[in-house]
């Protein structure tokens, strides 16, 4: 678990220019990513991980689970990261484990953001009693410490399969995004284009889905990235302390086995350090992309380039 940077409010919704139409917004995002160096690094890293998850057999030629080799071999060309205590190829384990980690990240990221959208925007748009009650629920979940809650849930469930982990994390982590989205939706609620839709006689659901949400695209992407990051960290941490399913192939479970076999003290440090490093790398990818999005959304945060062309750059990058 780490504290994701953009997890803390830099709430200046007023400075976020409303974006018109999701397609153009995505196109603008794409360009911004290319131009912002941090975002590029993050995106490339993420792409590498996705490729590894999609085609693990191409990269690693050994089975991740068969205890097929002599234990505790060092690094060699046959075993890029050596073998662990059980004679399993560590490199293969980590490569195949990528899939589980990314599935958790993307599913939770999507599910959490979806729930947050539904609750946050609905609260903002409906107002009144619905708003207040949804608010209370959101705020409560916001302050209850999530990791201990997840530990308690997983403990009662006697350790979770990937599905249980995904469900538990999704159901508890949506509140921060919901709050963010509600703030944003509130500022937009009385804009003219929405008023126009209302006057046209469109139903509230249509207005919310078709008119309001597409304007918050960059915020949604940022939220997705943050939630994906949380998911990776929470899930790996739970697996690390033994509350996951020890038979799954995943980075967190590899760490669990390493810890159980006192890997650091018995001269097999790679077994513990390598999976942690990968989690950090994936986390960094999400965080960098997110950080860049923060800058895109909040122009005041953009790097100040002390060159003559400063004004021109700012104009091109997403106005």
């Amino acid at each position: 678990m780490a504290m994701p940077v953009s997890g803390v409010p830099t709430e200046t919704p007023a400075t976020q220019a409303p974006e018109l139409g999701s397609a153009r917004a995505l196109g603008r995002i794409g360009r911004a990513v290319r131009l912002n160096r941090k975002a590029t690094i993050g995106a490339v890293l993420l792409a590498i991980f996705i490729l590894i998850a999609l085609f693990p057999g191409v990269i690693a030629h050994d089975s991740p689970t068969q205890d097929a080799y002599a234990p505790q071999l060092g690094i060699s060309t046959a075993h890029l990261l050596g073998t662990n205590h059980y004679g399993q190829d560590l490199f293969a384990q980590l490569v195949y484990g990528t899939r589980n980690v990314l599935i958790i990240a993307f599913v939770v990221g999507l599910a959490t953001t979806t729930i947050a959208v539904l609750i946050g925007v609905a609260a903002a748009y409906l107002g009144g009693l619905a708003d207040s009650s949804l608010n209370v629920v959101t705020d409560v979940l916001l302050v209850i410490p999530l990791f201990p809650l997840l530990i308690v849930i997983a403990a009662y469930a006697h350790g979770g399969t990937t599905l249980v982990l995904i469900a538990a994390i999704t159901l508890t982590s949506w509140s921060y995004t919901a709050r963010q989205l509600r703030s944003q939706a509130l500022t937009l609620r009385n804009r003219d284009f929405l008023e126009a839709a209302r006057v046209r006689g469109e139903r509230p659901l249509y207005i919310i889905l078709v008119e309001l949400i597409p304007t918050m695209t960059s915020l949604l992407v940022a939220a997705f990235l943050t939630n994906a990051l949380y998911a990776v960290l929470f899930a790996s941490s739970l697996q690390f302390i033994g509350l996951g399913d020890p038979n799954t192939v995943s980075w967190g479970t590899t760490l669990y086995w390493a810890q159980n076999n006192a890997a650091l003290q018995t001269g097999e440090p790679l077994w513990a350090i390598a999976p942690g490093f990968l989690i950090a790398a994936l986390g960094a990818a999400f965080a960098l992309l997110n950080y860049a999005f923060d800058e895109i959304g909040n122009p005041a945060l953009r790097p100040v380039r002390k060159v003559r062309k400063k004004k021109g750059n700012e104009e091109r990058a997403g106005k």
Partner: protein, 558 residues
């Protein structure tokens, strides 16, 4: 999660004192300031992780506290050595004798023994102890009163009358019951829950100081064996983490360990030529088939499973070689090797024979279909196997078994449960296959095999079975087991064991895979007299009672 030692978890030594301000953790003391390493020093430190702080209770009759007082402060009537086929050493009883038909057992109580408060110990204390247990059935952990009818004292003898002949119960009665003082316990209102903070016993040590973090025992100056013990002080810290306890062994601040140490060669023995370990095997860890399952009913299927498992690989990979491979006769080797039925064993043939497994399955009418053996009725050999998720070495072993069985077309899906859930499912028969061992151990293979095979220990699926989880029931086997319990003749006992081994090989009611062991590490640089494979005078773990007393009496500071 930490590997729970057998005694450590059943006899859950849960302790803590209320109101202490600092938490407990021992940690790697780098030798400086530790007085234990000085040459000729007679202070011994034990490293046995119990997972919690001490609550400073020492009531030996309450399983929460037995491990910390029995063997140190309290003693048995007769010490029975399970590692030497039940060789006896008289302790509080100077002699014993079976009566006619083995229906009475008379102990002559040693004279001149004093309790640590100076009061003489007599036969009345012995009778009192047993009758106290009879009165409070919660204390009858050995089940002695299921076979006893009365215990009376007269002069310096104690006579025990049996309601039914049960020679094997000698081990429980003589070795597993700590003798407590009548003049102290008769004043306790609730002997079941009273912690007994100031224990009075006959043993070689007295409890001198107890904090939540550490217990200090000092040699009993009035101990009835003159000149003993040579160890003058014992420190017993409360460890809550396996790694910390292991660290203390590795840096020498603890000398007597009962620990599971991963990678023991790098972690421990490499640190000093004096650091040694020995893991004597005790009981089988078995794959338990539910004999009511329609496919597992077929003995050929069970035989095939047994032949398909590469026990050496399970032992080496899953258990780091600490727990040796078992065999289908159910005899734990080398502990009970003298009881092995060689012809049954050789009739069974090679332990690992996947070709034979496949041919057995073919004979049973199975053929490969989509990687899984299927029979004519379309039933597939695909089973769930229950295991304890916390025991990471068992989970690792199960992974190997899974791979072995997959190679002959049998598909296993592990269900990793918590300890209580696993035991509950076993008790009620809610499983297809399960992985577990017996929780009690005795001075011959009979004890374990009786637990597994006696139909008195089983119950139909849905009702609670005692120890016969697989629901095995065969009147011929029952007759053999009952016959064993009526005789004291070693040759008759061996003949019965031979027949039982044949049953194990023919019927395959359970499938032993590896052998559970006692964990034991020792430092020969500070003390001599440790038990070794060549001199296995007692179970060597600090948590094994009352064997720990035997070890303590033989240790000499260097």
């Amino acid at each position: 999660m930490r590997r729970l030692t057998r005694y450590g978890v059943i006899v859950a030594a849960g302790m803590i004192a209320a109101g202490c301000t600092a938490g407990s953790q021992s940690s790697s003391s780098p030798g400086s300031g530790s007085s234990n390493k000085a040459a000729g020093n007679s202070s011994l430190t034990i490293s046995n992780e119990a997972g919690q702080l001490w609550s400073c209770g020492f009531n030996p009759l309450n399983p929460t506290f037995t491990m910390l007082s029995y063997g140190f402060v309290y003693e048995p009537l007769v010490y029975v050595n399970p590692l030497q086929q039940g060789k006896t050493t008289p302790m509080l009883a100077s002699s014993y004798k079976w009566g006619a038909g083995n229906k009475t057992l008379t102990f002559t109580i040693r004279s001149g023994v004093k309790w640590s408060d100076g009061t003489p110990m007599t036969a009345n204390d012995v009778a009192y102890t047993f009758n106290l247990i009879k009165k409070n059935s919660a204390l009858d952990l050995t089940g002695a009163w299921s076979v006893l009818s009365s215990v009376t004292a007269s002069g310096d003898t104690v006579t025990m009358n049996f309601s039914k002949v049960a020679v094997p119960y000698f081990y429980y009665i003589a070795d597993q019951v700590p003798i407590v003082p009548e003049h102290v316990f008769s004043k306790i209102s609730n002997p079941v829950t009273d912690p007994v903070k100031a224990p009075v016993g006959t043993g070689p040590f007295t409890m001198s100081k107890c904090t939540p973090q550490n217990i200090t025992y000092k040699a009993n100056p009035n101990y009835w064996q003159p000149g003993l013990p040579k160890v003058k002080t014992i420190q017993y810290p409360a460890y809550t983490s396996n790694n910390t306890a292991n660290d203390d062994l590795a840096n020498g601040s603890a000398q007597w360990g009962g620990q599971y140490i991963p990678g023991i060669k790098t972690f421990y023995t490499a640190k000093s030529p004096d650091f040694k370990y020995w893991f004597p095997p005790t009981v089988n860890v078995t794959l338990i088939p539910n004999l009511t399952d329609p496919q597992l009913k077929n003995v050929k299927v069970r035989q095939a499973i047994s032949y398909a498992i590469n026990r050496t690989q399970v032992s080496n990979t899953g258990e780091s070689g600490y727990e040796p491979p078992a065999n289908q006769t159910g005899i734990v080797t080398p502990t009970f090797s003298s009881s092995l039925n060689q012809s049954a064993l050789s009739g069974w043939g090679n332990g690992y024979d996947p070709a034979k497994a496949k041919s057995l399955l073919a004979q049973a009418g199975y053929h490969m279909s989509g990687g899984v053996m299927t029979n004519a009725a379309g039933q597939k050999l695909a089973f769930t196997v229950n295991n304890i998720g916390d025991y990471s070495d068992w989970v690792a072993s199960m992974q190997v078994i899974q791979q072995n069985l997959a190679a002959v077309g049998i598909k296993l899906t592990p269900h990793n449960l918590s300890n209580p859930d696993h035991v509950s499912d076993l008790n009620f028969g809610k499983f297809q296959l399960a992985f577990y061992d017996q929780q009690t151990f005795g001075p011959s293979a009979y004890y374990e095999l009786n637990n597994w095979l006696n139909s008195a220990n089983t119950a139909p699926v849905g009702k609670q079975a005692a120890t016969n989880y697989e629901r095995y029931s065969n009147p011929k086997t029952d007759a053999l087991l009952d016959q064993y319990s009526t005789t004291t003749s070693a040759s008759e006992q061996q003949s019965i064991l031979n027949q039982i081994q044949q049953v194990m090989v023919n019927d395959v009611p359970i499938i032993p895979v590896i052998e559970a062991v006692d964990w034991f590490q020792y430092d020969t640089g500070t003390f001599s007299g440790w038990p070794t494979p060549g001199n296995s005078y007692a179970q060597p773990s600090p948590y094994a009672y009352p064997d720990n007393e035997q070890v303590l009496l033989r240790l000499t500071p260097k």
